[in-house]
Amino acid sequence: MSDTHAALPPGAENISRGGFNAYAGPFWRLADEGGAKRYALRVEPKHMNSSGSLHGGVLMTFADIAMSQTSRAVSGASTCTTVSLTCDFTGPGKLGDVVIAQVRVTRQTRTMVFLSAELVCEKRTLGVVTGLWKILEQ
């Protein structure tokens, strides 16, 4: 990793244990802040598109992982599954960026979790995401 790359915040915990999460990642868990669950991704060469920006698929994968983790954390369930997800791409990510996902729970029922996430890099917002998760197993 070149030293032009921003550092991950201290205390970041790797949450990519295997499968596509590890193949596309790694993704990191950060400490909660201001009522939001927070996660991080450092943009690597494999994450790019041919225009030199972060690929939209990586941003959506990151959002899906961050919001799924949050669904499990707030529900205590071992398994949650994505039912729907909407992503607005509001700005490009660049190589070496550390993108932070700030995830909030809008509403939780016995079987469903409604979530929103803002994906930011320093002062820039790269994506705004809303989604619905189904709690599969308590």
């Binding site: 596509f20 494999k46 994450h47 790019m48 698929g57 994968t61 398994t79 599954t81 994505t82």
Partner: protein, 135 residues
């Protein structure tokens, strides 16, 4: 190397992340291409079904290829994507989609896609693309 499904050829991918997670396959002519993904071990989540992030990446790739057909390889970017996860898909499944152009304006392209495995809908997407440099 993954063997293409019968009747399909390998799509020429240019984005590093799509090359990382591919290959993607296609058949049919420009503007009416059908795209396919064979689910392998790299694409799975810890429950052993395709990861939502992989499906969304395949969607962005397939609809992006279709958008390129429409705007003749002009620079274009995804503005928004809306997705519904209808059913899980498993290792070895062939996921297929023929992206549909819903409407095109001077600057925007509206696409939708219904993704199937063995003819059953598993994932559905709608997206809006902006052609850069067009008002």
């Amino acid at each position: 190397m993954t063997t293409p499904p019968a009747g399909f050829t390998r799509t020429e991918l240019v984005d590093p992340f799509e090359i990382h997670v591919g290959p993607v396959f296609e058949r049919g002519s420009k503007g009416a291409r059908r795209f396919a993904l064979i689910i392998d071990e790299r694409h799975l989540n810890m429950r052993g079904v395709i990861h939502g992030g992989m499906l969304m990446t395949f969607a962005d790739a397939a609809l992006g290829q279709a958008a390129w057909d429409v705007c003749d390889h002009a620079s274009c970017v995804t503005m928004t994507m809306q997705m519904q996860f209808l059913a899980p898909a498993k290792l070895g499944d062939l996921v297929e989609v023929t992206p549909i152009l819903t409407r095109r304006t001077r600057a925007l392209m509206f696409f939708r896609g219904d993704f199937t495995v063995r003819g059953e809908a598993i994932f559905s997407v709608a997206s809006v693309w902006k052609i850069l440099g067009q008002d």
